[in-house]
């Protein structure tokens, strides 16, 4: 398989993530979309790592996976708080602060 195919897949995945972030109102789904974007990055990293015969890309990918997990954890916690305080995970309603 050519490198390009991986890259195109990653780009597609990334684009899907972007679309999800912009289009979704539910906080959890937004986080999921971000997760998609991060996985696109991982695909890139691993693909490059393989083609370059360089291990550091895979190391990088491991770190990204870890960090992504942590981020989603924190994010879910905050969304949970919002759900408790507002009764909805809908981020459209979070607009007290503006201007």
């Amino acid at each position: 398989m050519a490198l390009n195919q991986f890259l195109i897949l990653a780009a597609f995945l990334f684009g899907t993530g972007v679309y999800g972030v912009v289009a979704r109102r539910n906080g959890v789904l937004m986080l999921m979309s971000v997760e998609l974007m991060l996985q696109a990055v991982n695909i890139n990293l691993v693909a490059f790592s393989a083609f370059l015969h360089d291990v550091s890309g895979q190391v990088f990918a491991l770190f990204v996976i870890t960090v992504a997990a942590a981020e989603v954890g924190v994010g879910l916690a905050i969304i949970l708080l919002i759900y408790r305080n507002l009764g909805s995970p809908d981020l459209d309603r979070v607009e007290q602060l503006k201007g």
Binding site: L7, V41, F48, V67, I78, L81, I82, L91, V94
Partner: protein, 490 residues
């Protein structure tokens, strides 16, 4: 491969890590009444972490580890020292705020120190991976801190906005980094630099560099990656806001400078235009929007966006010549040091006054001169310093910025200089607006006619920042020397 580990070089991080563990443990062991002790522990730990910074600086030798991914040179030390001192001042500001509120104490210091640890690492990080890790270590705790007042919907909102935009930016940056890695074949900044220096940078590489920079643009809250800033600043607890506006932003700059100077520098066409646009947009939008703010924290938020723009100006012209690069690096460092002092000071005043008025509206500053002249005087000093009026430190920050512009002396640079000059003038309006409230407006009916009582720790924070702002303003050599010495090592 068994990497050589230089413990002296890692000492600041080790001390910080040890401290945060101690704080966490103490928090578990201490009874509720004694929880405030954790702040003392944290303070001591931070100051202790400053000691190895000094010894390393005295030693002077550049130390490099992990194949060049982690470097301790003067540049790194300057940032480490700066972060640690900022953390110290933020701790001073937080003590009473945290202990008076109904919050978890030990965790707060733990989370804060974690972020500081990330910053300390960031100063040394010279590899995409380590930069990424440092960046996330800085950022992730601040998501938590921003939402610290968890029963307050504003605080929730601040946190979620910060988090979403932050994660998005991380994703963009990572995507960029992955491509950079793919193109250049290495995550080490020096290798990337060597690749770029060969010339003929492929278009995809340029986009990759752009995306990487975009990620940092979020951290330094450059327009158009700034949307989270006002909302988060307003909603987050004030000490956290101060921390975000100074330390977190400086962390972003530390990374940006090393990436640009070590990694991307040779192909100026790939990164200068981006930074140029970011700088111009940040200054202009930040200032114009700040003009219309009625809330002091939001005003300071936009002001910090604009200040970030000013700091980006030297970077945006750094590629023109070696001397321009040199003065740009100096300018960024000096500006950050000065900006840190004056912005922290301004937030300290905001906190001090909020204890009395329980309001963040600029109009609540009316008549401060009458009942609390000392506080008004100090706040005026910070405002004028931010505006860049000599002999307060801010002038020297602007001065070195303009010097970098003049050193570059290309049409683009001069244009940016003019934009910066116009913006400095616009900025006066809102800074002076605060001063006007304090000095010219009468205090509202029923204001107590006695000075605002300020707790000891907060006064110390005020004193430190005031002294820095005045002394550096009159004798800028103090910071100028740091800027000059803080060269990026190999």
């Amino acid at each position: 491969m068994n990497p050589h580990i230089d413990f002296h070089a890692l000492a600041p991080e080790i001390v910080l890590a040890a401290t945060l563990v101690v704080v966490l443990v103490a928090d578990l062991l201490l009874p509720d009444r004694e929880r405030w002790q954790t702040s003392r522990l944290a303070t001591i730990g931070v100051l202790a972490a400053f000691v190895p910074v000094i010894t390393l600086a005295v030693d002077g030798a550049d130390r490099s580890m992990f194949g060049g991914a982690y470097v301790v040179d003067n540049y790194a030390l300057a940032f480490k020292g700066f972060f640690i001192l900022v953390a110290y001042v933020v701790l001073l500001m937080s003590v009473d705020y945290i202990s008076e509120g109904d919050y978890y104490q030990g965790e707060f210091y733990f989370v804060l120190l974690t972020s500081v640890l990330g910053m300390s690492v960031m100063g040394s990080a010279r590899d995409l991976v380590s930069i990424f890790i440092a960046l996330e270590t800085i950022t992730m705790p601040t998501f938590v801190l921003a939402g610290w007042r968890k029963h307050d919907t504003k605080s929730n909102e601040a946190a979620i906005k910060y988090l979403i935009i932050g994660v998005l930016s991380s994703a963009l940056m990572l995507y960029g980094m992955s491509l950079v890695y793919g193109m250049s074949g290495s995550t080490l900044l020096t290798d990337i630099g060597a690749f770029v220096a060969k010339g003929g940078t492929p278009p995809l590489m340029i986009v990759a560099m752009f995306l990487t920079i975009a990620g940092f643009a979020f951290k330094v809250s450059a327009v158009p990656f700034h949307f989270w800033v006002p909302d988060t600043y307003e909603g987050a607890p004030t000490p956290v806001t101060a921390f975000l506006s100074v330390a977190s932003k400086a962390g972003g700059f530390a990374a940006l400078v090393s990436i640009v100077f070590v990694g991307f520098y040779p192909d100026k066409g790939a990164w200068q235009p981006t930074l140029w646009v970011l700088a111009a947009a940040s200054m202009t939008l930040g200032n114009l929007t700040a003009l219309r703010q009625t809330n002091i924290v939001r005003m300071l938020a936009y002001s910090s966006i604009a200040q970030g723009g000013f700091i980006l100006v030297p970077l945006a012209v750094a590629g023109e010549s070696a001397s321009a690069a040199n003065s740009a690096r100096e300018a960024v460092i000096i500006y950050l040091l000065i900006y840190g002092a004056m912005n922290l000071g301004a937030f300290a005043v905001v906190m001090a006054l909020a204890r009395r008025t329980r309001s963040g509206e600029i109009s609540s500053y009316a008549g401060l001169m009458q009942y609390s002249p000392g506080l008004a005087l100090v706040m005026s000093a910070f405002m004028f310093s931010l505006a860049g009026v000599p002999p307060l430190a801010g002038w020297f920050a602007k001065f070195v910025m303009f010097r970098a512009v003049i050193d570059a002396a290309t049409p683009a640079a001069v244009t940016l200089g003019v934009i910066a000059a116009v913006n400095s003038v616009i900025a006066f309006f809102y800074y002076v607006g605060v001063v006007r409230q304090m000095w010219l407006q009468p205090a509202p009916e029923g204001t107590e006619d006695r000075p605002v009582r300020i707790p000891m720790a907060l006064s110390s924070a005020l004193a430190i920042t005031t002294v820095v702002v005045v002394v550096v303003g009159v004798y800028p050599q103090v910071f100028a020397k740091i800027g000059e010495l803080a060269r990026l090592g190999g």
